[in-house]
């Protein structure tokens, strides 16, 4: 059975520098408002002590994708390895997938009047290369893993991440650990 892959987002290593987001734009030279990968700031007190934390998210390539179900023209297909592909040719720009996706991943391109989203650099991975965001991350904070093997400390969600039960995303997270703090505002 082909291995099912997904993103591992290690927010403990991530320093919120947006290199992944810009590496993706640089690879595909997209329009500025199109952001296939976004670095979301986490609420500062979501891990006990206050800290600046981030989660870098693109498409979660869900196991039962809401976009695929909602799309009236079958523009979405899920590959053997789990990557959810979107076909530019089939899309008619009805934006139904944008409503259905709990993670607001599909984006409407005003020029092509169609929706587009991250495809986990399927072509690069087929050539054995890492996705542009993974290759571009200076902290090696994001990687592609086989979701079958359990990575130490990997969880299915982060505080603030929409309920994973809806579409069963393949993205796995590692929570940041915040060290001891000697503060003067107690």
């Amino acid at each position: 059975m082909a291995k099912k892959i997904g993103f591992l987002v290690n927010s403990d290593r991530c320093i919120g520098c947006h290199a992944c987001e810009l590496a993706c734009k640089n690879e595909y030279q997209q329009e500025p408002e199109i952001r296939w990968r976004k670095v979301y700031p986490l609420k500062e007190d979501s891990f006990g002590r206050v800290a600046r934390g981030f989660a870098s998210l693109a498409c979660n390539h869900c196991e039962d994708p809401a976009c695929l179900k909602a799309c009236p023209v079958i523009a979405y297909t899920k590959r053997e390895d789990g990557i959810v592909m979107h076909s530019k040719e089939r899309c008619i720009g009805c934006k139904n997938c944008m409503l259905a996706c709990p993670y607001k991943v599909p984006e409407f391109n005003k020029k092509t009047k169609k929706v587009e989203k991250c495809h986990m650099c399927a072509m690069r991975q087929d050539k054995g290369e890492k996705p542009a965001c993974v290759a571009g991350c200076p902290m090696e904070a994001i990687s592609v893993i086989d979701i079958a093997d359990d990575v130490a400390g990997a969880e299915r969600s982060l505080p603030g991440f929409p309920n994973a039960a809806i579409t069963n995303p393949t993205t796995r997270f590692i929570k940041p650990v915040v060290g001891r703090q000697v503060r003067r505002d107690a």
Binding site: E31, E33, K110, K111
Partner: protein
């Protein structure tokens, strides 16, 4: 020479000279642009004579406005680049510019200062049209109407695929930001001329 080809040649000559005036207007040098703009008014008079009297300080204002619209150094108010209107952020040397480059190449033409001046600069696009029209005229003279028609078809294709897809918007920007008569009148004349060309394409559909 049947009078039909004769009319076609004089019409072609008029269009050719108008295009070369617009080319001169857009090639960035203010003196040439000013002369071209006044010449254009003879061909395509914008008859509200209010704006026709040009005195000295109005002329300086026109120069600064011309630069603010097309040249710089700040953000261009009406950038004379097709990519400025075809991709959201007006980035040059992207897909749009390269499509224009392929079109030039089809006709055996390329930008002499390649990769320094974006291929889709309006001055260059008009120059390409002048080249096509001149080839058509030359072929007509040599009575080789089949090649002439093909140049005319190439011109029409280039106009529809590129010029008409953005120059109207470009002229709207000029009218929105331009205050002095000169730039505004040239923009109005350009719009009228292109509209006639467009109408001309439709009527020519049955003719060719």
């Amino acid at each position: 020479m049947s009078n039909r080809t004769f009319d076609r040649r004089t019409d072609l000559a008029k269009r050719y000279s108008l295009y070369s005036l617009f080319k001169q207007y857009y090639q960035g040098d203010w003196e040439l642009a000013r002369k071209a703009a006044t010449a254009i008014q003879q061909y395509e008079p914008v008859n509200d004579n209010l704006s026709s009297q040009q005195d000295q300080n109005l002329d300086a204002a026109a120069l600064f406005e011309y630069n603010r619209l097309f040249v710089g150094p700040g953000k261009l108010l009406a950038p004379p680049y097709e990519s400025a209107y075809r991709n959201a952020q007006g980035l040059v040397m992207q897909e749009e510019t390269l499509l224009v480059r392929q079109f030039y190449l089809q006709a055996g033409i390329e930008v002499s200062n390649k990769n320094a001046i974006p291929d889709d600069h309006l001055g260059l696009e008009f120059e390409f049209i002048c080249y096509l029209l001149s080839r058509e005229g030359e072929r007509l003279q040599a009575d080789d109407s089949s090649t002439a028609n093909r140049y005319a078809a190439l011109y029409q294709e280039f106009c529809q695929q590129h010029i008409l897809s953005w120059v109207y918007q470009h002229c709207d920007d000029i009218l929105a930001h331009g205050k002095t008569g000169l730039c505004r009148d040239t923009a109005i004349s350009l719009v009228r001329f292109l509209q006639r060309e467009e109408a001309n394409f439709l009527s020519k559909e049955e003719f060719v």
